[in-house]
Symmetry: D2
Subunit: 133 residues, 4 copies
C-alpha cells in the first residue's frame, strides 16, 4: 500500500458544497502514477502501454474543500496482461470513497493486449497489497 | 430509453489522442439531467435531494474528438429510496463506454435516505428501460 | 458573429452555487470549433496547426446551472500568422462573461509561427465581426 | 512571493501531448489558496467573501506531463476593496505561463464589493511582491 496526498481545489467543489463525484476518479488516476512508472519510467506519453478497462467507485461520505485527502492504493491482482488496483480516499480519518480499477498492458500499434514482462512484474510486486474491503 | 448528444471538447482529449477516461462519467452525469428534473423540476441546487452512491464504468473502445457522441440512458430499477440507471456512449455507431449508476433520494438536512414519492415515480416511469447488456 | 449553445453541467458548478470561473475558458474553447475547422477541416489532432498565445476574460455576472448559455463569437483581427477572437457568454439575456483570445497559426514540427494562407483567410472572413465592447 | 508545487495529472494533457491551456487557470486558482486564507481562514465556502473579476493569461511555452510545475505568486496591488495578483508557472526552470488576476472583496448577501479591513491587510502584506514582468 502506498499513499498519495491530494489538496482539494475550489474548482473541484460543486453547488452542494462538496467535492463533485466526477473529481474522485481524477484523483485516483493521479494516485496511479507510481503504477504508471512501473510500465513507463519516463512517463512519456509516446511510450504509453496501458489502457483503462473500467472501474467501479463507491461514495461513502461527502468530501470537502479545505482539508487534505489521503489516497491509499495497492495492486491486488496481477494477471497475464492485466492488473487490478484498489484505491481508498480518506478525509479526517474516514474513508470517503473507494474504487477498484482494471488496467491492461496494451500495445497501441498492434491494438491488442500484451503480456506483462518479468522486469515490470518485479516493480509491480512492491505495490502489491490485498484489497482492504 | 432517451438520448443525449455530446460534442466532445478539445480540452477533454488526453496525450494518447483520445477522450480521457475521467471525462466519460462527466458526460454521463450530464445525461442524467432528465432524471434530476423528475426530482428537482427547477434544477435549483438549494432543493437538491439526490446523492450518488456509486457507479461502475467499462471502456470498450477509444473515443475521439471531432465526432459527436450519443448517450443512451434509462432507469432499470426503482427501489424504495434508490434507483439504478444505465448509460451507453456510442460514437460512429459503436458502443465506446457503458456504466451502471446507483443514486439515492436523499434528505440533506436529515442526512438520510428518504422514500421516493408517487408523483416522482410517475415521472421516473417514463424513463424506465431494461439495461441493454 | 456566430452562436454556440452550452448547457451548463452540474459538475461545472462550485460551492458558491455558481459556475466555477475556470469553466468559462473551457466553454470558449469549445466555441472556437468553427474557427478550428477553418484551419483543420477534419479536426484531426495530428494535423493541428494552431496554438493559443493567451487570453483575457472578464466575469460580469454569476452564471448558473439550470439555464442554457449562449456564446457569441467573432474574429476581430486577422494578422499575418495570428488572429484575435472575442467571445461573449449570455445567460437570461445578459452578458455574464467576455473574453479576447489570441491564437497563432503554428507549425509544430518547425516550432514556429507560419503565415495564414489565402484559402484559410477566405473561410475566416465569414466569421469576422468587430468586437462588441 | 510564495511558491506552490503542482504535479501535472495525465487527465490534464490534451491530444497535442501538452497540458491543455484551460488547466493553467485551475492551477493558478489553486495557488491562490494562501490569499483565500487571508480572507477566509477556515476556507469554509459558507463564509466566502471573494469574487473573481477577471484575469489575463499568456502561454509562453508548452507544459508537459511527467515533470513538476512551480507556481510563483504574489499580490502586486491592494486597493480599497480589490487586489491584483500575479502568477508565473515554471517547468524545467523556464516560465511556461503567466497571469494577472483581479479579485474583489465581496459581500454575497448585499451583492456588492466591500472594503478590505485592517486585519486582512496585515495578512495580505506578507504576500505582497511586485509583478516580475
Amino acid at each position: 500500500m502506498y499513499r498519495t496526498l491530494i489538496t482539494p481545489r475550489f474548482s473541484e467543489t460543486d453547488a452542494l458544497g462538496h467535492i463533485n463525484n466526477t473529481v474522485v476518479p481524477v484523483w485516483f488516476e493521479k494516485a496511479r502514477t507510481p503504477i504508471f512508472r512501473c510500465f513507463i519510467p519516463t512517463l512519456d506519453h509516446r511510450q504509453w502501454n496501458l489502457i483503462l478497462a473500467g472501474f467501479n467507485v463507491d461514495y461513502l461520505l461527502p468530501t470537502y474543500y479545505g482539508e487534505d485527502v489521503e489516497i491509499r492504493s495497492g495492486i491486488h491482482h496481477i494477471g497475464n496482461s492485466s492488473l487490478k488496483i484498489w484505491h481508498q480516499a480518506l478525509q479526517g480519518g474516514k474513508v470517503v470513497a473507494q474504487a477498484e480499477v482494471a488496467m491492461v498492458h496494451y500495445d497501441y500499434e498492434a491494438e491488442s493486449s500484451t503480456a506483462i514482462g518479468e522486469e515490470v512484474r518485479l516493480l509491480l510486486a512492491e505495490l502489491q497489497d490485498p484489497r482492504p474491503w
